[in-house]
Symmetry: C2
Subunit: 111 residues, 2 copies
DNA sequence: GATAATACATAGGAATTCGATGTATTGGAT
DNA sequence: ATCCAATACATCGAATTCCTATGTATTATC
């Protein structure tokens, strides 16, 4: 399996969020923070380099947009390659969960 | 939450296995490999340094045992501190799963 | 007797994430 | 009107984790 996933929930969640709608960096971070009740609190030092890497890999595409207010944001959308990568990462994630839980269940009574 | 867990399923699973019975390194690796149908294939370069670290942190304790055959193995048992750490890691793991799945469900139909 | 499997170990490197720091704009409070 | 918090982007260096490669030695199998 893709061992990258052992650490890489960040890419998985970014791709998952963008598969629904385009978002900009700060929005992604605050959405994840809110929706997980603070379980995930990505710092800028984690988020932006990861976005740049995903873009360099062609999984997402960014474009600057200037609102009427003057605030500039970089909106990201998922690419075709990104959707394929997401599908594969979803598969890896569920395999990882299943494997871990299988071990845990054998040792304890719970999942 | 303990962000270490994003990557650290290794320590979690080692502690979980040892909470049932004492085991030696090679046995841990092959057990996990077998029980997860090959999803996890830890290499020596991952396993042994991790065992050493867990021992240095006082979460497990190792002792050499020489079988009648002459083969020497280092058996590890979980310590009291190890059990406390395991409890905390189990909690973190279930939080992580819940948080990830909550995001995934919002974006797709599945978990 | 040779080879594969068992059983341990470490060194070096690749990849990921965090902490710290920096710049600039916008909105609200005093 | 001015200050401060929040927004919005960015990068550098450090810490951590894990893998590849390599090494040693013993036991079992052919």
């Amino acid at each position: 399996m893709d061992t990258e996933l052992l650490k890489g929930t960040l890419s998985l969640l970014i791709l998952s969020l963008l598969s629904r709608q385009s978002m900009y960096g700060y929005e992604i971070a605050s959405t994840v923070h809110r929706d997980t009740d603070g379980t995930f609190t990505w710092r800028e030092g984690s988020l932006y380099p990861n976005l740049h890497k995903l873009e360099a890999d062609g999984l997402i595409a960014g474009a600057w947009e200037e609102k009427e207010t003057g605030r500039k944001r970089r909106y990201y959308r998922i690419t075709k390659e990104g959707r394929a990568a997401l599908k594969s990462k979803l598969q890896s994630w569920s395999e990882l969960c299943a494997a871990v839980n299988r071990i845990l269940e054998k040792s304890h009574g719970q999942a």
